[in-house]
Every structure is written in C-alpha cells, then in structure tokens.
C-alpha cells in the first residue's frame, strides 16, 4: 500500500464488511463513498485507494463514479464554504453573474478550494427563500439580495473577520 495520510476508520470498515456480505457488494460503492465523504468532508485519492483495495473495485471505476456525481467533493471544503443558490428565482435575478464574480475573485471553480484553505465554492439548488433572491450562504449565514458588485466586499469582510 502507498503511504497514506488518512486512514479509513472502523465504522466505515464495518460498513464495507457488511456490504461485502450482501449480494452484489460492488453496487454499494456509492453508499460507501457517501460515508467516507460524511466523515472526512471529501474524497481524496488515498481514501479511494483504500476503498478500492478493501472492496476490490478498480480505482479507475471509483474515480469515474466520484467525478460523475456532483455531490462528491474531491477537495476538502474551505473554512468558509460559499454556496450560491441557482434556484429559478435566484437565477433569473442574476445568480449566474454572482457565481462568475466569486469564481474570478477567488480564482477557483465550483467544487474547488482556495490555496489558503479559507474559501470553497459551490452552487446549490433552491434554498426556499426566494423572496430574498439572489441568495448566497457562507457556512450557515445567509446573505440576501446579493449582486455581483458586492462580491469583493463580501469576501473582504470575511477575510478581515478572519484576521
């Protein structure tokens, strides 16, 4: 085995053992990856290598599944997880421009994390607060009526709080 930094813990191993007992164990791959992501926040190649060896599923297959589904994250979340709502109401009120602005300001794409580990960027489905559209959440905090010009300010505010 490669030198691994992060070890899959007992709970996940127990779950994999359980899956391996059932019919067609490989069909539980997605469920296993969910557990890993829930525990570690994302799927690293080391995690996937360990799942591959334990469940005897080729790493290329796991990698294919993990990159196909948007739910799986391949990088750790930043300390501040920014999520732009792309629900219909937010979208028609310019959420796409807001998202673009975050991408340029932070220099990252959806699913990625800034080098300093401070910010990560995601988009979400409708959050149900359409009256406040467009909506952006940073961790649990909701920002309403955001437009693309406010984005640099918003980022700076978080940065200064951090300092």
């Amino acid at each position: 085995m490669m030198e691994t930094k992060i070890h899959i813990d007992k709970d996940i191993k127990a779950f994999m053992d359980e899956c391996l007992q059932r019919d067609n164990p490989k069909s539980y791959l997605i469920a296993v990856l969910h557990k890993v992501q829930k525990k570690f926040g994302y799927l690293s190649p080391e995690h996937m290598d360990q799942v591959a060896q334990y469940m005897q599923i080729p790493t290329s297959t796991i990698s294919g599944v993990a990159t196909f589904y948007h739910f799986f994250r391949l990088q750790p979340r930043g300390k501040y997880a920014i999520s732009v709502c792309m629900g219909t109401a937010c979208f028609v009120k310019g959420a796409d421009k807001v998202l673009e602005s975050f991408k340029t300001e932070l220099g990252i794409d959806i699913g990625e994390t800034t080098q300093d580990g401070l910010f990560s960027l995601e988009n979400s489905r409708c959050l149900g607060v359409c009256a406040l559209a467009p909506v952006v959440t940073v961790n649990d905090k909701v920002y309403s009526n955001v437009n693309e010009k406010q984005v640099p300010d918003l980022i700076n505010r978080v940065r200064s709080e951090e300092e």
Binding site: I57, T59, T61, S63, G64, T67, F68
Partner: protein, 584 residues
C-alpha cells in the same frame, strides 16, 4: 434453437434468435456502418452510427445492440437513415481536431473513413471544443484526450480482455474524459503498457510513444554502430503494411530493407529466443527436480511481467528470471559481440523492432542497463513505426531481394520463430526440456496440443515417465483465470506460458492497423499470422533451440553451462512489486 424469421431490406431470412440486427444483416452481405462496435468487446451502443429503422418503432434502433425478434421488418437504408448517420458523424467531428493531415492515423482512421464513406464533405458548425494536453508520461503509450470520441473501446479492452481496468470515463457530459484513476499520468497507474488501447482506438487518442526521431538521428550519425534486431512476429505481419495479405512471410526482404535504411548489422531476436529457451528449460528441469516454485511462468512478454508486478507480486518467485529475447540479444551485443568485434560498446546503438509497445517500457527498466549506464536497448520501434520508416525512405519492400541476417546473433532455430505466436514459447521450451529430461532425442517435434489461438488452454504432455501439466494463456483476463487456478491448488501445473496480448505477439500493441473494413484483433488474422511462423519453423533444418550452433558456441566461449554464474549475470533479471497495486 428455433430460428426467427425477419425481413431486412425486403429480403426474408431465418436467423438464430440470439443474434443482433447487425449480425443478421451481415449474413445477407449488408455491412451496416459502425464505429464504437467491436465483436470481441461488450456492446456499448455509444455512437449510434449503426442505426436502422425497425417497422413500428418510434425511433431508429442501434443495430449492434438490438436483438432480432420474430417478424421484425428492418430497413438499413433510406435517405433519412443516411442523413441521420451523417449528422451523427458531423456532431462527433464538430468536437474533433481538424488536423487530419498532421495525424498519425491519417489514412487509417476509422472516423475519417466513416466521414468519407457517409459523404461528409463540409463542416457546417464551428462550436465549442474540448481542450486537453497530450499525456506523454509513459514510454509506451501516449494519450491524447482531445481526439477522443468516447467510444469506450479502450476502456472495454483494458477491462474485458486485459483485466487491468486502468481506464475509465471521468467527469460527465461535455467534460467527460477517458483516463486512468484521478486523471493521473499513465506512467503512475496500473497500466501494463500492452498497447491494446492503441490497437482498438478508432482514432488517434492512444498512440505508441514514437521513437522514430531518435532512430533517424542515430542512423545519420557516422560515429554510431547502429544495429537492428527484429522480433519473430514482425516477419509475418509487416507485409500487411504494404498491401500484402496477412501471413505473408517477409523475413529476407525486411533484412534487406533494414540494411538499406542504414543499419550496420541486422540481427534476429530469434537468437535471443533460442538462448531464452535453453536457460528457461534448464530452470524448468531444476525446479522439477527440486519440486519448488512450480509452475514456472514464462517471462518473455513485458506487458505480462508488468501485470505480474502490479497484480500478482506474490507470484514473482514463480516467474522465470530469464530476460526476454530482446534484452538477451541487446545484452550479448553490447558485451560479447562488442568485445569480439572490437567495437566500443558505448558507440553501439541498438534498435529493437517489436510488435509491442510494452518493450519500450522494458528497454527503459533500470535492470537492463550496461555497466556504463546506457540502456542495453537504445530504442524500440513498433511494426507500425518500421513500416512508416520504410515508406518514408522510399523503399519498395515487396520488390526487394531477400538477404540473410548477420551472424552470430542472427541465426536461429525453428523453435525461436514460433515465439511470436501464442503457445510458441511453450512448444519451444518443451522441445528442449524434453531432451534435457529424457536424455533422448525427440521423435516428434510438433506439440500440436498447444497450437491453438484460444485465449486459454491446458494440456498434459508425457515426457519420458513424467506427465507435465501445462497451460497457455494470452490476454490477461485469461492469465488471471489460470493464476487463480494455480493459487487455489485445485490442479498442479508445471509450466505456464503467459502473453499479455490476444494471440500472443501476433496481436501485439504495435502491429499494423487492419485494412479498412476489417476489425483489429480479428482472430482469423492472428491465426494466419501465426501459421506463417509454423511454416517457417517446419522448413528449418535446426528446430530445437539447444541445437542452434551459434548458441552452442556462446556457451562454449562465454557462458559454459546454462544457469552458470556468467549466464545469470548476463541473461537473467529480477522483478519487483509495483505500485499502485492492481485489483484482481
């Protein structure tokens, strides 16, 4: 099985119920255009080029993936169908580089051929195109995702035929890309460098990592003594690159062509094969005596050896430690031959012409280096690369006189010739081992029990009072099968021949692309290429490796006996477990 009656293009036909529309149409001489389909691989139905109209169906059906049923009325041609096929190809082309003249596959690209035959004469749209860099980390295979049309043949051959599962489709939609896990470099993956992805790719998304530039350079350098060696299977396949039928033996012409290209000496990998056999048969006899590390696993196929290191490292002690014929010829060239001929080995440039891209990897292995640090084999050309060089030089190979190899590394027994086809190494080893075991000459040299092209076969062979259980596997899915059987202990084997590629070297990753209308790795073509080698063998005076007079001479002058310390130093090597570990 009860046949079903169907109608294809107004012709009635009764066919077996378990075949597809495409197969039924072929019985009527209708060859429906196709792209992602390959008869040896699972059905994909990705490209939709093979669509046909089935009466009563709402949409066109992909004929490769639709089974026939009673009373089906099928139309394979109409203006609408032809238009739809053309539209499909145009959509693929709109996301494909427009650089056919600069492409390695120009002239034998399946996409290009289809576009032509379906009548695509102009491109109407200029749309968004995927952009990817060419991935060149592997000495054997380069991956150009920009040209990929997502037919998944490479993914399928890697998983289904080779059992390697190195490639997969990553991401989704427009961003889909075929790559090893985590989109990592090929050289850092479980890729065994067999090059079957290169073989089955309809375009140029996978290609061998070219060595022609450095070979031209060496040939133009007057200070270099440039030497060629050609593998057994080249002589039976090279003709296909010059419109000769499969199985045309062209040994003599190839030698002449190589001399005209400027090689200072032309040797035969077969000589190395004879040496391999003498050493390997000795190894087998020793192991049988001691009853240890059985079965002996052959070690000539570099793709198989890399597979062993990634997937079955626990079985490394079973593998013969003998170098491959290529590396033996290269080693003897830069040691014994250089000394005898009084040539500075540092000035020798060895070019091995192989049906194989894994040999490019083998040549770079640190185990195969001279005392002065250079590789024993400086460059490996595939059959395809040599064909191209001969064409580039303007040599009309089909009209060349036949010349002989240079000696001493150019003389070989018939046993060496058959190395190029599946079962050949086994048969060659048995001819020598049988005489070693019984001390008596063999009456019948043809072990026909191992002469077949199926992927996996077992046989029991009586030698003296011993009964040897042997097995031959080609295609690594079959290797997995036999190794698992060995490990289970259900049956005792004594000797197992393993070849990475389907049909052995005949189906190697560096062999000529098939002519238009034929599919790659056609078992018939592989068989015909193999038969050419059996004919060469049957016509030879010397048919047993240990009777090769030049082999005998090398033992007298240099190595003394098979398995001696000197032989081990020069002709043997070692293997080690490799990361990442493969999933069996």
């Amino acid at each position: 099985m009860k046949k079903v009656k169907i109608t294809i293009d107004d012709k009635e036909i009764a066919v077996a119920p378990d075949i597809t529309i495409m197969q039924a149409a072929e019985q009527l001489g209708i060859k429906i255009p196709r792209l992602c389909y390959h008869p040896d691989l699972s059905l994909e139905g990705a490209c939709r080029v093979c669509i046909v109209n089935v009466e009563g169906w709402r949409t066109f059906a992909a004929s490769c993936a639709t089974r026939v049923s009673e009373g089906m009325k099928i139309q394979t041609n109409s203006p609408e169908i032809r238009q739809a096929r053309r539209d499909l190809i145009e959509l693929i082309l709109d996301n494909h580089p427009r650089e056919c003249q600069l492409c390695e596959r120009d002239g034998n690209c399946e996409l290009q051929n289809l576009a032509y035959s379906l009548g695509v004469r102009e491109r109407l749209f200029e749309g968004r195109r995927k952009r990817h860099d060419i991935e060149r980390s592997s000495p054997s295979v380069i991956r150009d995702a920009e040209k990929c049309i997502l037919c998944r043949r490479c993914v399928r051959v890697c998983a289904e035929v080779q059992g390697v599962f190195n490639l997969s489709q990553l991401y989704r939609g427009f961003n889909t890309v075929v790559a090893p896990a985590y989109e990592g470099p090929m050289n850092d993956s479980v890729c065994i460098a067999c090059g079957q992805c290169v073989n089955v790719c309809p375009v140029a998304s996978f290609l061998e990592n070219r060595s022609t530039d450095k070979v031209w350079e060496a040939l133009a350098d007057p200070d270099k003594h440039v030497v060629a060696q050609i593998a057994p299977s080249i002589r039976a396949a090279i003709g296909e690159g010059f419109n000769q039928p499969a199985g045309t033996a062209m040994t003599g012409q190839t030698v002449t062509a190589l001399r005209r290209l400027g090689f200072d000496a032309v040797f035969d990998t077969n000589f190395g094969a004879d040496m391999t056999i003498v050493e390997e048969a000795h190894e087998l006899v020793l192991r049988l005596e001691k009853n240890e590390h059985l079965p002996l696993l052959t070690s000539c196929s570099s793709g198989w050896i890399k597979f062993l290191e990634h997937f079955y490292p626990e079985m490394i002690p079973n593998a013969s430690s003998c170098k491959s014929p290529m590396s033996i010829v290269s080693t003897l060239l830069k040691t014994h031959y250089a000394e005898k001929q009084k040539i500075d080995p540092e000035k020798i440039y060895m070019v091995a012409i192989m049906p194989c891209v894994a040999k490019k990897f083998e040549a770079e292995r640190p185990e195969h280096r001279t005392d002065f640090g250079a590789p024993y084999t400086d460059a490996v050309l595939t059959t395809r690369e040599l064909i191209w060089m001969i064409k580039a030089y303007g040599i009309d190979i089909t009209n060349l006189p036949e010349e002989d190899f240079d000696t001493p590394l150019g003389f070989s027994s018939g046993a060496a010739d058959i190395f190029g086809t599946t079962g050949g190494v086994m048969e060659a080893a048995l001819r020598t081992a049988a005489e070693n075991l019984t001390g008596k000459p063999l009456d019948n040299l043809d072990f026909t029990g191992v002469r077949k092209t199926e992927g996996l076969r077992e046989a029991s062979i009586k030698i003296g009072d011993k009964e040897l259980n042997v097995a031959v596997a080609n295609g690594l899915t079959h290797a997995k099968e036999i190794l698992d059987k060995v490990k289970s202990g259900k049956k005792t084997f004594h000797l197992v021949e393993l070849m990475a590629c389907p049909g052995g070297c005949m189906g190697g990753g560096g062999q000529p692309y098939p002519p238009y209308g034929h599919h790659v790795l056609d078992r018939e073509v592989l068989k015909i290429r193999g038969e050419a080698l059996y004919h060469i063998d049957a016509k030879k005076q010397v048919r047993k490796s240990h009777e090769n007079p030049f082999v005998k001479k090398i033992y007298q002058q240099l190595l003394k006996t098979p398995g001696s310390d000197k032989a081990h130093k020069l002709l043997h090597t070692s293997y080690h477990a490799r990361e990442p570990r493969g999933i069996k």
